[in-house]
Symmetry: C2
Subunit: 200 residues, 2 copies
DNA sequence: GTCTATATTTTGATAGAC
DNA sequence: GTCTATCAAAATATAGAC
């Protein structure tokens, strides 16, 4: 078995490694350049994989976009699991906002990584926009649970309002290239969360 | 002067007519399909102008995009002039929100006409994203003036928050293809405007 | 001013050597 | 499994007849 180093688990590791590098590169490039402007060559270069080799891992560009959406879903689930460690729903929500504010420089450069992707996919006929909507719904449902736990009967509406505020301030932060916009809106949202706990 | 019908003011009218049709078609197509997905052929077809003729009016695709931004600026100025007819700033702001809610079906299909454009342009290197930012600033400045007239010292921050809420709910309304999201958020924002007038 | 035909470039995707 | 070379289609832009 002189081929033992090149076959077996070695191949699997290489395969997974490249596939994951391509997915990570896709997430980054789609965020920075958008779906339509990003070419397969861009992604291949960012992943340090030859262009022609991309098709061994992903049959079409859409499959790469789908993999990027999946990666966003995984990140989101991990973030939610982390937030759920906190005992009080108010603190969980405020920790979510803090995370947004921490990413304000990236938002100023390229907007919300998932919001801009979702927005762009909504202009396409295929089903990838529905996949993105599913991911967005995970965050919305989590937010609703927090507000319900705080005793709000309008939990869904204010969860929608919170996520909308984040998506909107991401767009403005990006449009004006001003991370301070996100910081100030974050402070306002945290005060708002506190006020919701005391009000009816 | 056998050519009198084809030269002189007739040509100017035709020229202006086609240019304006192309601009209007660009606005519509860029909204529906996005900048990168929309081809010059798409715009030409929507304007009922032969593809090759487009270049007589616009030297590049970017010039067409710029014209579309200019058209948005004009629409915005017209809307502001109309809102300014109302005597009270609260009513002007609530009329703005009503207008957003009225357009909810279009938002569900394609998002905010200007927000999605601005978001996409921010992913490009050229200066068109700065032009879009100028237009967005017109609305922001107007909102700030209304809140200041209401006696708010935090006028800029809440103007940013209001526009962000609209941009964000447009994105969610589009993502979930649900115009009702915009309607409910509109109601919430109107209650919020009222509460600002009574609070400090 | 208008339009057809076409040049040029880019991009998604494939064939086939190694 | 990897990679080079290349195809085919689409898109921007131009040339030149009318």
């Amino acid at each position: 078995m002189t081929d033992s180093k090149r076959s077996g688990s070695g191949e699997v590791a290489a395969r997974r490694g490249k596939r994951e590098r391509l997915t990570a590169a896709a997430v980054r490039m789609l965020h920075e350049q958008g779906v339509e402007k990003t070419t397969l060559a861009d992604i291949a270069r960012a992943a340090d994989v030859p262009v022609g080799n991309v098709y061994y891992y992903f049959k079409t560009k859409d499959e790469l976009v789908e993999a990027a959406i999946g990666a966003h879903a995984q990140s989101l689930e991990a973030m939610i699991a982390s937030l759920d460690q906190l005992p009080a729903p108010q603190d969980r929500l405020k920790a979510l906002i803090s995370g947004w504010v921490e990413q304000r420089e990236l938002a100023a450069q390229f907007g919300c990584p998932f919001g801009t992707l979702s927005s762009e996919l909504d202009k396409r006929a295929d089903g990838l926009d529905r996949t993105a909507a599913e991911v967005m719904r995970i965050l919305l449902d989590w937010g609703e649970r927090q507000f319900r736990e705080m005793g709000r009967t309008d939990a869904r509406d204010i969860a929608v309002a919170l996520i909308a505020s984040y998506q909107g301030i991401s767009l403005l932060t990006n449009t004006f290239r001003d991370p301070e916009l996100m910081a100030r809106e974050g402070e306002r949202l945290e005060r708002w969360i506190d006020s919701l706990a005391t009000e009816g």
